[in-house]
Amino acid sequence: MNPLTKFLLELQEISILIWRSVGGLVRGPRYFVETIRQMDLIGVGSLPIVLLTGFFTGGVLVLQTFPTLEYYSIQNETGRSVATSLIRELGPVLSALMVSGRIGSAISAELGSMVVSQQIDAMRALGTDPNRKLVAPRMLALIFMLPLLTVAADIFGIIGGGVVASLLYNQEASVFIQSVRSGITTEDIIGGIIKPLFFGLIIGSVGCHKGLSTTGGTAGVGRSVTNAVVISSIWVIIFDFFLSKALQVILDIGPM
C-alpha cells in the first residue's frame, strides 16, 4: 500500500472512531462517572506541567523581546506583545503539545495494553462497546479540559512575563499590566479557546485510534505510543496554521 493510500485509510478509520463515539454520546449508555474521572486525570493531572510551561514561556518571551522593543523605544508595549503571542499561539500550541506527550501516550499505552491482553475482545464479548466506554469519555474529557488548561497556561504566562519584566528589566508592574489589558481583545480570547477544542479532538482521536489498533504484543504497544505522540503533535502544529488563518478571516483579527 503506498503512503497516500495508507494515510487516507488512517484518516477514514479515525473519522469512523470519532463518529462512533459521538454516536455513543447521543444514544447512550453514557458513562458519566468515567468521563468525570477522565477529566480529573487529564485536566487536573496535567495542570502542573501546563502551568510551568506557560510561566517559563511567558518569561522567556519577555526576556528575548524586551531588548528589541527597547531598541525601538516601544518597551512599554511588552505586555501587549507577550499577551497576544501567548493567547493566540503559544498558549494553545504548547499546552496541546505537553498534553499530547502526557495524555496521548497514556491513552494509547492503556488502550494498546488492553488490546494485546485481549481485554478489548473480552469487553465486546461481554456486551460493552469500547467506543462508548473507553473512547468517548477520554475524547470528551480532552475537548473540555484542554481549553481550560490553555487559559491557565495563558494566565501563568502573562504572570511569568510580568515577573521577568519587572525583576530583570525593571519595568513598572502597572505599565506591564496596562499594556496587557490594552492588547487583549475578545476575538483573541475566543480564538484562543477554539483552537484547544480542535487540538483536544486531535489528541483524543489519534491516541485512541493508535491504542485500539495496536498489533504485535508489547513491542506493538511501544510503537503505538510513539506514533500517537508524534502524529498528534504534528497534526496539532499543522492544524494550528490553518486554524489561525481561518480565525483571522472569520474573526477579522487585524495586526497586533
Binding site: P29, S117, Q118, Q119, D121, A122, M123, R124, A125, L126, G127, T128, D129
Partner: protein, 301 residues
C-alpha cells in the same frame, strides 16, 4: 396416569418432536435446533487462508472439542462465533439465527447468550475479582444485592470465593483462568466457548478446568466449544460425566458399562480444513497419519 394427563403428556411430546423451520430464529430454541452451525465458512488474512470451507454443527447440550495445531484456525472460529471477526464467505448460525452479517449493535443480544473464556483469562486488570465477575451485571445496572449474590454463586462454582476482593495481578494463572470462567458464566449463558483454557497450566489445575466444563455440560445443559491441543483434556471430556449425590456433592464418573457418552465429539482442524469429525473412540482408531501423529505427539517428518 389419568386420561387427561395422558393426553397432555402426548401433546407435550408431539410439540417437542415437531420439526422447526431452520430459517426462523426462535426465542426459546428447542433441542432440534443446533446451538451453533458453521456452513462453508471461509476466512483469509493477508492472502493466508485461515478457514477453508469449514462446516460443523454443535447440537444443544453438546460439547465440541476442536483440536488442531497452534495457529490452525481454532481461535479464529471462536472469534467468528462472537462476531469479533467477520467471515469472507459462508454462514454462521447461533440458535438458528444467521449472524454472518450482523453489525456490532445486532450482535449485542446474541452475545448475551454466549459466555467466552479467553486464553489468558483476559481479566480487566484495573478491576478487582468482584468487579470483573460482576461486569455484565454492573453494565446492565442490576441492583447491588443481586449482583453480590450472583458473583458469590459464580465464584463458588469455580471454587474461588476467597479471592473475591483480590486484584488480577495477585492471582496465579490458574486462578485467573477460573475467574475468567466465573465472569463468562454470569447470566447463565446457554453457549460457552473455551479458547485453550488449560494452556500453560499444571495438570491438576487443567483437570479442574475440565471438571468445570463437564459440570456445565452435564448439570446445566450448556452447549459448548472447547478448543485445545492437549489430548488429556479430550480424554476427560469424552469419557467422564458429572452427577450429584444425595448430599449435593458433585461426583465425576467414567463412562464404561453403565453408559457411553455421546454428547461430546471431536473435530480436528488442519490448515483451515476439518480433517476429522466424530467420537473420541473413532479418533483414536483413525487411519489418518496426521491424526495419529497429533494424538501421539510425534513430530511430523
Amino acid at each position: 396416569m389419568q386420561s387427561s394427563e395422558t393426553a397432555e403428556y402426548k401433546a407435550d411430546i408431539e410439540e417437542e418432536l415437531e420439526p422447526t423451520a431452520l430459517e426462523d430464529p426462535v426465542d426459546e430454541p428447542d433441542r432440534i435446533m443446533p446451538a451453533i452451525e458453521f456452513r462453508d465458512v471461509h476466512l483469509s488474512f493477508d492472502d493466508k487462508k485461515i478457514l477453508d470451507g469449514v462446516s460443523f454443527v454443535v447440537r444443544r447440550g453438546e460439547t465440541k472439542v476442536i483440536l488442531g495445531r497452534s495457529g490452525g484456525g481454532k481461535s479464529t472460529a471462536i472469534r467468528l462465533i462472537l462476531g469479533l471477526l467477520k467471515a469472507d464467505s459462508g454462514q454462521i448460525l447461533i440458535d438458528g439465527e444467521d449472524i454472518t452479517d450482523y453489525t456490532e449493535e445486532e450482535m449485542i443480544p446474541v452475545r448475551q447468550k454466549i459466555g467466552m473464556v479467553f486464553q489468558e483469562g483476559a481479566l480487566f486488570d484495573s478491576l478487582s475479582v468482584y468487579d470483573n465477575v460482576a461486569y455484565r451485571l454492573h453494565e446492565s445496572g442490576v441492583d447491588e444485592d443481586e449482583v453480590e449474590r450472583e458473583v458469590r454463586r459464580m465464584l463458588s462454582f469455580v471454587d474461588l470465593e476467597d479471592a473475591i476482593d483480590k486484584m488480577p495481578d495477585e492471582l496465579s494463572g490458574g486462578m485467573r483462568r477460573r475467574v475468567g470462567i466465573a465472569r463468562a458464566l454470569v447470566g447463565d449463558p446457554a453457549i460457552v466457548l473455551f479458547d485453550e483454557p488449560t494452556a500453560g497450566l499444571d495438570p491438576p489445575t487443567a483437570r479442574t478446568i475440565c471438571e468445570l466444563a463437564i459440570k456445565l455440560r452435564d448439570l446445566q445443559d450448556v452447549s459448548s466449544i472447547f478448543v485445545t491441543h492437549e489430548m488429556n483434556n479430550v480424554g476427560y471430556l469424552s469419557s467422564e460425566y458429572a452427577t450429584v449425590n444425595e448430599d449435593g456433592q458433585v461426583l465425576f464418573e467414567k463412562e464404561g458399562e453403565k453408559l457411553c457418552l455421546i454428547n461430546t465429539e471431536v473435530i480436528m482442524l488442519r490448515d483451515g480444513q476439518i480433517i476429522f469429525s466424530g467420537s473420541d473412540e473413532r479418533l483414536r482408531h483413525s487411519p489418518d497419519e496426521y491424526v495419529q501423529r497429533f494424538i501421539n505427539g510425534k513430530q511430523e517428518n
